[in-house]
Symmetry: C2
Subunit: 308 residues, 2 copies
């Protein structure tokens, strides 16, 4: 044991001599690298940057650095990235990529790597996660559309392998039943990916079914943008011919033509809470898993209008 004073003196001399703390070496000693991996499914979806900002700032305030990676919707990519992160001794990971059954989550559990899910969760709820109340979000959108007089409402669902896609789709069916709306199968198409192209294809399929409809609830904003493209392709207008709602309130949707009515999720707060939860797990890996669900709200803009 050396005195605190001596230790500080040694460190200051070492610093003068050009020595720097090597997180890797100190990782070996203290078993901490003060680095956290953050994996997102699609860097080009503007909903993720503000979530990542929330994570980064919260971690930085505790002396941790975030390293970010983009799986580009590809599980093989994601597994390779996780492998790289884990062999580089990150102290934990935050995954925004989760599928309802998820190989990455299994890997983390097997390796005992502290883990928090954000935005999406897995079916087996024994993993800590910070998510949105997806059911309530869909109910808000449905209530808004029916209050405007819409009765024939379609749904562009997300990938059913994700908790968001699945929960929002189930919520659509459930709310429609509660409201006494007839659920028409031709008006529901679940997209394979949360992309504009997938949303466009899904709405084209609905339009081409010939079933009449006046509104569509898209499972996220990227799908909603694809709906704009499908309407334009068929010479239809939003909101004149069809009202559209999204989910996420990602940056820039207020600037679109028309500005998108959507379910707002608290992006920054999702990131902050996920980071805090991960720091807790790093300090106490044996703590029980937690599920934190944040409340969304509806933002009404120009893409929805009353039936005349």
């Amino acid at each position: 044991m050396v005195s605190r004073e001596l230790a500080e003196k040694i460190l200051s001399i070492a610093e003068e001599l050009g020595y720097r703390r090597n997180p890797l070496a100190s990782g070996l000693r203290t078993r901490r690298s003060y680095t956290v991996g953050v994996l997102i499914p699609d860097l080009t979806n503007p909903v993720f940057p503000p979530i990542v900002r929330g994570v980064e700032r919260t971690l930085a305030a505790q002396g941790f650095t975030a390293v970010l990676a983009d799986s580009a919707h590809d599980e093989e990519n994601a597994l390779a990235i996780l492998e790289n992160m884990s062999s580089r001794h990150v102290d934990g990971v935050i995954l925004a990529t989760a599928h309802r059954k998820d190989k990455l989550v299994e890997q983390c559990v097997q390796q005992g790597l502290p883990l928090v899910l954000v935005n999406r969760t897995v079916d087996d709820h024994n993993i800590s996660a910070v998510i949105n109340d997806d059911e309530r979000g869909i109910r808000l959108a449905m209530r808004h559309l029916t209050s405007l007089g819409h009765r024939h409402i379609g749904h562009i669902g997300g990938p059913q392998t994700t908790s968001t896609g699945y929960t929002r789709y189930r919520a659509f069916l459930k709310t429609a039943r509660e409201m006494g709306l007839k659920v028409e199968r031709e008006l529901i198409v679940n997209a394979k990916e949360y992309t504009e192209a997938a949303g466009q294809n899904a709405l084209l399929q609905i339009i081409d079914s010939g079933k009449p409809f006046t509104a569509v609830i898209a499972a996220n904003d990227m799908l909603a943008l694809g709906c704009y493209d499908a309407l334009a392709e068929r010479g239809m207008r939003c909101p004149d011919d069809v009202s559209i709602t999204g989910f996420n309130d990602m940056p820039f949707v207020d600037r679109f033509h028309p500005p998108l009515t959507t379910v707002h999720i608290p992006h920054h707060e999702l990131g902050v809470q996920a980071a805090l939860m991960l720091l807790e797990r790093i300090r106490d890996p044996q703590a029980p898993a937690k599920l934190l669900r944040l409340e969304p709200r509806l933002i009404v803009r120009g893409s929805t209008r009353a039936l005349s």
Copy 2:
């Protein structure tokens, strides 16, 4: 020396037994971690994700992993992130954050860390970089506006501490002189940051100067969006009262209201070329520095119109 066959057999048995290649350990042995740091100045600016995608895919094809970090326009953040990356033995870094005089670049040079700049460069051209022909981009925008009859053209410049802000501003002055336009000082404001808020403030300053103008060239798309906000705030319309051009053609600008006329830069290709250049430098750190300049083109959309 072992035969290739034997080596492969050993690796396959090791894999079966659950051994994984530890990039850290092999980093110590081969002095390669097969990891590259990528630092961007603003994750919320949609121009960066497609550049990063280009980097990631090119690196992945060569067995390298990208770790990404966001400096949020803050040099102290950036230095801390670089320190973390470097002490974790990245093989090199790609910086999209460069200022004309840049502490991070100096740090990398001092440490002998292979380095490539992307999108922006430094005044001292002895550093490898992949950038755009910023002067030509501004000239394309000016030529477009003058061909529409505009003579009183303003400029919202970017931060003059960046090569993009400085080069585009100098190009605006130079092209205006070449075209015989009177350069009015009140119509030029250089923003402190490439953000919507900074663009908005800059255009408000120009509007409130009282000098008449019919068009504005913004140094990037985020500033151009801020111009939309400033016009709305003063009850003016784009393009009816003022034509606006941006720079970057970042994702989503075609969806804005009005869709933005802007200078397109080849995002993905910038990333691909920066990654290839870095891989070259990692293999041969003594190779001379290279500057690769990619040609931009003008995309005309709804934010510019002919003077009637």
